[in-house]
Symmetry: C2
DNA sequence: GTCTATACAACGATAGAC
DNA sequence: GTCTATCGTTGTATAGAC
């Protein structure tokens, strides 16, 4: 809340606040929020536990500040890329560009550090699973607008698909993205080394391809009419 | 490790072990593993904290027992449904049946209680995000075989798609599934009420549709050849 | 064999010294 | 502005009563 002057503060250790913030981000995005203690953070930053409380009031406050840092730049980048994507002429290419505009910042952007975007997205993935209340509020405030804009853009490219289906499919995209950042080694393992789950480039390309295809899929009723084998038949097959 | 006799034990309170197990499953799948204390579990089960330690040795042991309970039935059901799906004649229907066989038990199976499968899958989702070590070991032992079988089955239906791509897309499916169970209200919100994220039926149908389409998508190189607008063009569009 | 009472370390947070 | 000392509370595990 209280804004600090831009001048370097006459402190014992310079940028202790920054050191704590960096340590917290690193630890939270690796082990989750609940598994990391304020003491862990202080230790990693070379600070005193009390100093964490001084700077951020509570543990939740620390998390809030990390989100504040990243949300702005990431959503800005997304908006820029989305605007550019909407100008793509070829319809198929435009759709792909829109999806890419959504995915790319999650992997690469982030305020300053290399891989900052990836780390922050990983944190978001863990936080959504842990169901943190602070984060829920931030998401409803900050991310829903962006998500809406993307769904609208996709809907423009695919007007014959009901918006509801696109919401579902966009939701699946985010889940897939999160899961890939949280458990990349599973991809490497199941592919027996022929894919590298930690390779952002590979992940992005596969994610974009899969998502574009899923977005273009016919809506539900059309497929139900086509199907020759009913669900009941399959479920009864063995049991 | 030590197997207990099948006889009902002559205990003061019957099924206290079961009560603790049920309470733990409920709490873990709602708030995550790290956020829930042994005291919380004991309180919810009407037991003494020490009694939890007696039955399950450690908090990890409790988690392990919950997994042991569910993994067997769920993977059995999956195998049954997969075997049935493989016998479907129509190729398109078969692929869909295979995906359905993977998704269905995650939502509905589970040892006994209604919604047991959903609750356990939700737990798995949270645990994978929290990066729990106990769970990582169980997954590598129990789930990878099943995942492999499904990828193989899908590969048989889509022999022209490289297995690596199918691994990625199957991974995305699991991520989407997890995320839907963890944050269903997001779907309801973004769709402005026209979809219900908590409705397992809707979720399954949308998930199956989207996944089948993504699995059928052309592999990477083919699309790269088709594309008219390069990635660089898009990224440079605004910035 | 099952549960109660209790020990002990670590947690988040505060007040006040520096 | 930062750190020390410390509060009340919680998580985990044990030892012994029933």
């Amino acid at each position: 809340m209280v804004r600090k002057p831009a001048k370097v503060p006459s402190t014992r250790r310079p940028n202790m606040r920054e050191a704590i913030l960096a340590a917290a981000e690193e630890l939270f995005s690796t082990y989750g929020f609940n598994a990391v203690s304020v003491r862990d953070i202080a230790r990693a930053a070379g600070a005193n536990p009390g100093s964490v409380t001084y700077h951020f009031k509570t543990k939740d406050g620390l998390l809030l500040e990390i989100y504040r840092r990243h949300c702005g730049p990431m959503n800005l980048r997304r908006s820029e890329l989305l605007a550019a994507a909407r100008r793509v002429r070829d319809l198929q290419d435009r759709l792909e560009a829109i999806v890419r505009a959504y995915v790319l910042p999650a992997f690469t952007s982030g305020s300053d550090l290399a891989g900052g975007g990836t780390r922050f997205t990983r944190l978001r993935a863990i936080m959504s699973a842990e169901g943190n209340e602070v984060v829920k509020r931030i998401i409803a405030q900050t991310f829903d607008d962006t998500s809406d804009a993307f769904i609208d853009a996709i809907h423009e490219s695919l007007p014959h698909i009901p918006r509801t289906d696109l919401v579902w499919r966009g939701h699946f995209l985010l889940g897939a993205l999160y899961y890939t950042l949280v458990t990349p080694e599973r991809v490497s393992r199941l592919s027996r080394g022929s894919a590298d789950g930690t390779d952002a480039g590979q992940a992005i390309e596969e994610l974009v391809r899969a998502t574009v295809a899923s977005l273009q899929a016919a809506p539900l009723d059309q497929t139900l009419a086509r199907r020759k084998t009913t669900i009941a038949e399959i479920a009864q097959g063995e049991r």
